[in-house]
């Protein structure tokens, strides 16, 4: 699924191609099976809703990474393309309902995609002439304009309440009415696999390849017969298309589109999601979307302070793992190839487990401070990690502090040997 795997060094071309076929097909089949099985494991409607949200974010993030990771274009207003696609689909949905047209619901996202692409063509016609700050600032400006319009132009955007519809009014599709979440889940999963596959294949086409070339060195690409501007334009339109599909799926899943789908916060979130997952690898945004959705939806159920932890996680990621979570995983490929990955397990346990415990200790301290300051008077009990205690006595503070100190202390003490093991695992030769 990645350049690194398909371009395995030292293999002749022909064997490579045969090998890459299985290497590229296998993950897709696994992913498709996983998507099929997931609802059997998590049957509740909320789990399905969260997974739907996840897969929509995955499509959106992959589409975003077509620009950021593959094309080197930083967009601050990308929610607009998804949002507009969604609004358009919602209008079609209502139109179908009002006029009784024969449009099967599963085809609806296609219209969102076309609309997203159409809008991307308009904006791209003037924004893609540069890649750097100019592109970024135009995207920011356009994003703000559309978001502002969404409140002013009520006829299309429905103002602050947005527009809503009912997905079940369309014609039943082979007897499926999309009343149940599970039906929507499979619809979204189908589009997820299809869009992800198309986006992956896009990266293998001449335009997709040249997008990488233009990202790395736009000038050189010009001297190879390609206009950097047109390459960017095509990537931009393709990205707009898949964003629109994500928007259409959003319309089907939530049956409502609001200003929120267009605003700067949503655009910022998708940048964070993509970066958290890792822009350098095709599957990076997938991980990012899954992790972020879980953090946002599930962590926020557990603590009011979730945003602090998410903010800290981002800072840590960008400071220590600029390749994102995918980069972190792919760091281990060389060691794995050398057959030395196993040697890392014990040092990892020795360092990361205490570190994790230490970090949890710090989180506990933060939660306790918060409870102490903002909790109700007389409400001294708090529950943390399945333990209920009195936050106004000294003991819990001592324990949490000690856990934090000891955990971080052990992690620091064992870090050098982890580094050693790491270097050893990434050096060719020697005992393996």
């Amino acid at each position: 699924m990645t350049d690194q795997i398909t371009t395995d060094p030292g293999k002749p071309a022909q064997r490579m191609r045969a090998g890459s076929l299985t290497l590229t097909v296998a993950p897709w089949i696994i992913a498709a099976i996983a998507l099929m099985i997931m609802p059997l494991i998590f049957q509740s409607n909320s789990a399905l809703t969260i997974m739907n949200q996840m897969w929509i974010t995955v499509i959106f993030a992959l589409a975003y990474n077509m620009l950021l990771g593959q094309g080197g274009m930083l967009s601050f207003g990308h929610a607009v393309y998804m949002g507009l696609g969604g609004f358009f689909c919602m209008h079609i949905m209502n139109y179908v309902e009002d006029f009784g047209l024969a449009l099967p619901l599963p085809l609806l996202p296609l219209f969102g995609g076309v609309f997203g692409m159409g809008f991307a063509m308009i904006i791209g016609s003037f924004s893609t002439s540069g890649a750097g700050t100019r592109f970024a600032m135009i995207s920011l400006g356009v994003g703000e304009l559309i978001a502002a319009c969404s409140v002013i132009i009520v006829a299309f955007f429905g103002g602050e309440e947005g527009i809503s519809g009912d997905r079940t009014y369309g014609l039943p599709f082979f007897g499926i009415e999309f009343l149940k979440q599970i039906e929507v889940y499979y619809l979204i999963s189908f589009w997820l696999i299809l869009s992800a596959l198309l986006m992956y294949l896009f990266s293998r086409t001449p335009v997709g390849r040249m997008a990488n070339a233009v990202r790395d060195n736009p000038e050189r690409a010009q001297f190879l017969g390609y206009s950097a501007r047109w390459v960017r334009f095509y990537s931009f339109c393709a990205s707009g298309f898949f964003c629109g599909i994500a928007g259409g799926l959003f319309a089907i899943s939530y049956e409502i589109l609001t200003e929120e789908n267009l605003n700067a916060a949503s655009s910022g979130v998708i940048l964070l999601v993509t970066f958290l997952g890792g822009v350098g690898f095709f599957f990076g945004p997938i991980i990012g979307a899954i992790v972020f959705t879980l953090l946002q939806t599930v962590l926020s159920l557990q603590t009011e302070l979730w945003a602090i932890y998410v903010g800290a996680l981002f800072l840590a990621t960008v400071m220590f793992f600029p390749g994102g979570l995918a980069g972190l995983i792919m760091m281990h490929v060389p060691a794995y190839r050398l057959g030395k990955a196993r040697g890392l397990v014990v040092p990892y346990i020795k360092t990361l487990v205490p570190a994790a415990i230490g970090i949890l200790g710090i989180c506990a301290l933060i939660e306790m401070v918060f409870h102490y300051r903002h909790g109700a008077t007389g409400d001294v009990e708090m529950t943390l990690f399945w333990t209920t205690f009195d936050s106004h006595t000294v003991l819990p503070w001592v324990i949490a502090g000690a856990i934090a100190l000891v955990g971080i202390g052990i992690a620091r003490a064992t870090a050098p040997s982890l580094k050693e093991a790491w270097d050893e695992a990434n050096t060719a030769g020697g005992a393996s």
């Binding site: 998590f42 789990a47 969260i50 309440e161 991980i287 939806t297 599930v298």
Partner: protein, 414 residues
């Protein structure tokens, strides 16, 4: 990568499911409102009032039915319609049957539609939507449904009451209307114009405009226009930072007439206005705080402040919501059959500790109650807001406001 992510999903989802196993005997109420982000202060204070009301009014008195307790669970919707719908689904899966929400009519609109669809598609897990503060008139008019109940007076009712009082002020000649550019702001403006032209055709509306919501850094230019227009009074539906910014700016730039508004108390706003708002800020709302309407109300307030010294009882409708819900469950004899509970709520009359009667109008599920014009001041204030010296004191009251106002609601009952 697949394994890793799956592991994450398993652990995360099991947390949700695990949470639903506990406390099966409680009657769960999901509070879906912003608990983080820019609107968190209002949301958190609302959650505290709900938790306190449930404990103080229901649980401390032995609960409802056979001793079942109310349990209020906070869900952070980040004031996003999308997140609200996800949290709604999570709440339903946890066995919650009562949803309370209030901040943002946009969210309320998304929730009421989603709940209507959910109840149609899943008759086995129906839920009720108890709206305690979203005041867009449409929710009890064109967009009404059987599962939605509004415990706050809607924007039209408030404006009706407000203009009744304004109409009696003979010296009022010029009024300026300003609001946030979205459905609620527009509804307030339209309602103000309609009511004033009907009740006092001689009052000149010297300005009627909208400004972007949550985006204005400096209200000075608006304030200048208001001062320059020679207005005697200002009407605004602004809330939050937009209310404070507009109000302060109008006062700073030399306006001394009354500013009639909906939301300018508590959440730090009373404290921030302080002396400058005295004699200027007038609020329309339900629930009398000063002078205390009853001993129970005073006791309620005192007990609340003891528990939450930083909080305010600025939404008496929250305790009304809890009280009426408890009464409806008792009357229906069940907390599981939503049709029964909803039917019990319809047409219910309830004596509130905040003075007067409450009546849940059956044809549109709009609560009819007394409306008060309250002044921001530091004189005669028994219970202050924001731990400042200032609070609101009732100046005049409209009994059972808009009891016979028409509604376009065509209620479809199951």
């Amino acid at each position: 990568m697949k394994n890793l992510s799956k592991l994450g999903v398993v652990s995360a989802l099991s947390l949700i499911i695990g949470a639903s196993a506990a406390f099966a005997e409680n009657i769960k109420i999901a509070f879906i409102d912003p608990l983080s982000g820019p609107f968190a202060s209002t949301g958190t204070n609302g959650l505290h009032q709900f938790e306190f009301s449930a404990d103080y009014m229901v649980n401390a008195k032995g609960g409802v039915l056979d001793g079942q307790k109310f349990e209020v669970i906070g869900f952070d919707n980040k004031i996003s319609p999308k997140e609200s719908l996800i949290q709604l689904q999570v709440a339903i899966d946890q066995g919650v049957r009562f949803i309370v929400q209030g901040n943002s009519s946009g969210v309320a609109n998304a929730l009421t539609e989603a709940i209507n669809k959910h109840n149609k598609r899943n008759p086995e897990s129906r839920v009720l939507f108890l709206n305690y503060a979203a005041v867009d008139p449409a929710l009890t008019n064109d967009k009404c449904n059987f599962w939605h109940f509004r415990f706050d007076a809607n924007a039209d009712i408030k404006m009706d009451a407000l203009t009744d009082v304004m109409a009696q002020k003979e010296d009022l000649k010029k009024v300026y209307i300003i609001g946030q550019d979205y459905s609620f702001g527009k509804a307030v403006a339209a309602s103000a114009v309609a009511n004033l032209t009907e009740k006092r055709p001689d009052i000149e509306i010297v300005g009627n405009e909208l400004h972007p919501i949550g985006k204005v850094k400096d209200f000075t230019p608006y304030a200048r226009k208001i001062v320059a227009s020679g207005a005697d009074a200002v009407i605004t539906g602004n809330w939050g930072a937009d209310m404070l910014g507009l109000g302060k700016s109008i006062i700073d730039n030399g306006f001394d007439g009354p500013i009639y508004t909906y939301y300018a108390a508590g959440s730090g706003i009373t404290g921030a206005f302080g002396e400058s708002g005295k004699g200027v800020i007038r609020l329309i709302g339900e629930g009398q705080i000063n002078p205390p309407p009853s001993d129970e109300a005073a006791a309620f307030y005192t007990a609340f402040k003891e528990k939450y010294p930083d909080g305010n009882v600025d939404q008496s409708r929250i305790s009304n919501t809890i009280g009426m819900l408890a009464a409806a469950i008792e009357k229906a004899g069940t907390a599981d059959d939503m049709v029964a509970v909803a039917t019990a709520l319809e047409g219910m009359e309830y004596d509130t500790i905040w003075g007067g009667k409450l009546f849940m109008r059956p044809n549109d599920h709009q609560l009819i109650q007394d409306m008060h014009i309250q002044a921001h001041t530091n004189e005669g204030v028994t219970f202050t807001y924001d731990n400042s010296d200032y609070g609101v004191v009732v100046e005049s009251t409209v009994k059972m406001a808009s009891m016979d106002i028409a509604s376009t609601c065509e209620m479809k009952r199951p």
